[in-house]
Amino acid sequence: MRIGIFVCYCGSNIGATVDVEKVAQEVLKFPGVVFSQTNLYTCSEPGQNQIKKAIKEHNLTRVIVASCSPRVHNNTFMRAVESAGLNPYLFEMANIREQDSWIHDNREKATQKAIELIRMTVSKVYKNRELYPKYFDLNKNVLVIGGGIAGIQAALDIADGGKKVIMVEKESSIGGRMAQLDKTFPTIDCSACILSPKMVDVGIHENIELLTLSEIVNVEGSIGNFKITIKKKPRYIDLKNCTACGECEKVCPVSYTSIFEAGLARKKAISKMFTQAVPSAYFINNKGKAPCRSSCPADVPAQGYIALIREKKYLEALKLHREENPFPSICSRVCTHPCEISCTRSLVDESISIMNLKRFIADYELKLGEIPLPEMKEKKFKKVAIIGSGPAGLTASYYLSKEGYDVKVFEAFQEAGGMLRFGIPEYRLPSKILNLEIDLIKRMGVEIKTNSEIKNSNEIWKLKEKDGFDAVFLATGANKNVSIQLDGENLRSVISGVDFLRDVKLLKIKKVDGTVAVIGGGNAAIDSSRTALRLGAKEVNIFYRRSLEEMPAMKEEIKDALEEGIKINYLTAPVAINGQDGKVTELILIKNKLGELDSSGRKKPVPVKGSEYKFPVNLVILAIGQEPDTNYLTTGDRTFEVLKNKSIKLDKKNILLVNKDGIFAGGDLVTGPATVTDAIAHGKLAAKVINKYLEGNSLDDIEAEIIKEEGSKIRLEPEEVFTKEALDSFEKISRIFIEKEPVNKRINNFNEVVHSISEERAIKEAQRCLNCSICSECHECIKVCEANAINYNQKEEIITKEVGAIVVATGTDIFNTDVYEEYGGKELKDVISAIQYERLMCASGPTGGHIKRLSDNKEPKKIVFLSCVGSRDKSKGMSYCSAACCMYLAKQAILTKEHIPDSISYIFYTDIRSPGKDYDEFVMRAKEYGTQYIRGKVSKIYKKDGKLIVKGVDTLISEPVEIDADLVVLAPAMIPAKNSKQLAEILNITTGTFGFYTESHPKLRPVETNTSGIYLAGACQSPKDIPESVAQGSATASKILALMSKDKLLTDPIVAKVDQVRCIGCNKCLFVCPFNAIEEVNLINKKIVKVIESVCKGCGLCEATCPIDAISLNGFTDEMILEELEAFSIF
């Protein structure tokens, strides 16, 4: 090792305090040092030449310069050393100026210290190794996150530079905050006029790919090679086709509060964000499936037909209904309406009476005559057999027939309808109604063959193999009684609920005498009781083993039954049925109490010992449950497997497949006894699956598709639709009252009990709907769109892109001024935010550019502006200055005067900050316009006689001020965008105290972040105005273009490196690395780590963490530091 040391006088900077010559002599004593020299100015040209010369003449292998701080001249000397042919990393500096001569006076001690500092440097330089930078390829695409003015500017500049740009914007249009503004300072030119040409440029630029409604979900990799994952939400509009004609908007029945208009206007569910939006296309705001819809087994878009009812489009409403469920009339009477249970409105007051709204449109149609046929597709000349004409079978037949299949339904009984017909009493579902809807199916061409029972499995296979049916759908329901396992069950006058109801329908039972006991608590029990009552029973008693709470029957039905005089005995169960001469005489009952929860989640009834009692009775109806009758499946030669609970075993549950040969099953046969709507849902699913199956898709594909579709549905929960505040803000309106047949008039006949509602009340009820998902999927827009641009099938997409650099331009949000209760909070309508005022002034805004008070639409004459609401206020807001407020308030004051010449504006300010070109002149102009600037804060705003009294103090004259204003405008602080923290985590960039992104250096590297390859533009870095944002956008662009002008990237060799032999793969370095620069790799079956050199920043945290020194930081290895310490310790 041949070390050369150059000791610098630095003029007199060092020489005055340190005996430089002595130092140069002393250091020669150190082992390895072969040369030393003093220079007056080592950093000067001659000084550097001396180093080069000495390297060559003395064949130096290490060089040390003892002079100023390495922060000053390290690079200078490294270059000099390199030009002399020595690796620059074999050079070190000893700081004998800043850390010695400049801070000490004692010449002797300072000289000694200089020698010791050099000794430490010598020991370090022993361990220096040659280092070389590395090269790697870089991707020349750029990602710009955020489509505000800063992002737009950056994207355009980069795209103009010939690089591909991917711009990701989370809204439906780019434009950002600037698009919301009316005019811009200090030139008062129209914001839209200067912005929209740039927006259009972005839209049409061949190098820019615009992804709206998109968000970044993941970023991997590093400078030059980032891999971006983007989540793109569906627009439901084909950008290619949409001409932005606006026809759809006219028919859309739903509107919501526009955020773009700062809450001052409402927009349609299908709309453009604003007139000049880019892409110039409409957008359907569909948040997902509203709770009413997502809770409906049949996926009926309740919000959709309610919206159409509101618009008096009753037949359209029915058509929409039938797209998902062909039986609106039936369902409006018998459905268990989970939609109403989950209705978000119930969080405000009461749920919407959805079922009665449906009843209204169904009845409306019936009044018009026969149900119109749906649009039928062309015949496909394929046959489907459906076994069972219950709701599942009928639904399947409806949709399959609509698809163009020849459908034949086999029904065992003499009439179609299944449980709808034989399980539900006439007073709930009149046969007339049922017949009308079955009729529709028949009119569609479905053949329903009654009295033709399928008796065994052979017959099923025969349909498939002999009779030429391409698919078979088994929907035979669950109509077999479950035995109660009691003595006397077989007595005469003991009948099951199912049999009883069916026999009544078939007119086999026409009269009931005496006392009737009904066992059970389900709808069948209630139906049987009320039917028995109507047939003349003297007294009807229901015995239910649990309490009212656990009773599965619908609550309205229970209420109706009680009204009709039926007695319900809770917590009572039969233990025996006694009879005489084969005829029932009495029930022995026992009292129960409730115990622990059982497997069904209900409390288990526990008999109370010794509580048995007798109950004399003439007829016992056992309505304790049904199960599928699977006899026909298990007999014959090629039988079907049946599960323990008597339901059929499916091969693929998700697509109702029984057998790969095209046999499907659905409804109660699969689920066990369930609701009508569940059966309809199965029928619909079966039709969909059978259609796909008959189109030739593989069963696996179909299953995958169905699962994917199910998984991609966004289901809204009632609690998550609105914030608590929003819920509170809705006016409370109670639900419509439903009229029913009076009790005395109904208990002796089978007239329908529930009445239809009037049109007027229906509309009123429909108006209560909160439009949870915004777009109600009513499909009206599809009808009017001539460009065929609407596509409800669009799904959320996950897109991956590869880029070399990223621009973050996510802008700011606006501080919520509600915390300033003294300014009225939400109470005072005429205290508005500056952005609202901006919209009020804007010609394309909600008032067409007329400034009006929100409370009374009057033109304000006295307007007070408050600056620093949330800015420069540590107690309630942020301590920083929001930078643009002083200027835009001046602008708004000037514009106010132009809009309302006889108005007067007051501006309360903390300090006027106008440090920009023409800015102060602009403020002066505002003053010339008569704007009253008052230095001070406002302490209170309250309403008095229609005026807003603004109380404050003018701190310049120390006097209280009180202004009776018409309108108060608050200038809220700019705060980091809502999700900026999450994005920072994804990008692995840092945020400062307030959450704005941190630049690499506040002065010298203003648009770079500490993560190489990620750059900042605009207000996401700190609050700023338009000119500054644009300047930053361009600055970022130039940085990126500079980066992209290289073909290869160079890494700094001061990075960590792993000793692969020593590494044991404990991953501790990986846990702590702030830059994710360490990755796991396998080396000959050994798990170790590797440094990604392009990502490593050289902090050395890994080396301090590694327990075995297997990872070390070039230039600052443990070896070097230990050597320095050893050298330090020599006294």
Partner: protein, 145 residues
């Protein structure tokens, strides 16, 4: 049991009793720059401190501190960027934990914990650095008696 170890005597021989040896580990971005700034402002400091420049306070292995004491240092000083201001965003957070553990531990092996201190000095805090140095050296001299 070491009766037969005839190894060389310690190589460390102090010049004078009043001389103290203090080593300081400074992060390159804040504290080293702060110390430079103190130099630039000619802020006078005692001569007893030797600075070792490291990229980040997170680079400091706690064992360096123990090693320094083992090698006979009278005091060890660490200084880095203020929390939240780390050039590498997180390094000083890790350092803070590790250094605090060391500080708490020192008395358990019989070393006065005042002999070790870690400080946050930014590039602009030249005067703070000066005060830190002056006071630290004073404390060490007090302990040494």
């Amino acid at each position: 049991m070491n009766f037969i170890n005839e190894g060389s005597k310690s190589l460390n021989v102090k010049n004078k009793k009043e001389d103290v040896k203090i080593v300081a580990f400074l992060c390159n971005w804040c504290s080293y720059a702060g110390a430079d700034a103190a130099g630039t402002s000619r802020l006078r400091q005692p001569e007893d401190i030797r600075i070792i420049r490291v990229p980040c306070s997170g680079r400091i292995n706690p064992l360096f501190i123990l090693k320094a004491f083992n090698l006979g240092a009278d005091g060890v000083l660490v200084s880095g960027c203020h929390p939240n201001d780390c050039h590498y965003s997180e390094g000083n957070f890790y350092a803070r934990r590790r250094l605090e553990v060391i500080k708490e531990f020192l008395p358990f092996i019989g070393i006065d914990k005042r002999r070790f201190s870690y400080q946050w000095v930014s590039a602009s805090e030249a005067q703070k650095w000066q005060k830190v140095v002056i006071n630290f050296v004073k404390i060490i001299k007090e302990i040494n008696g």
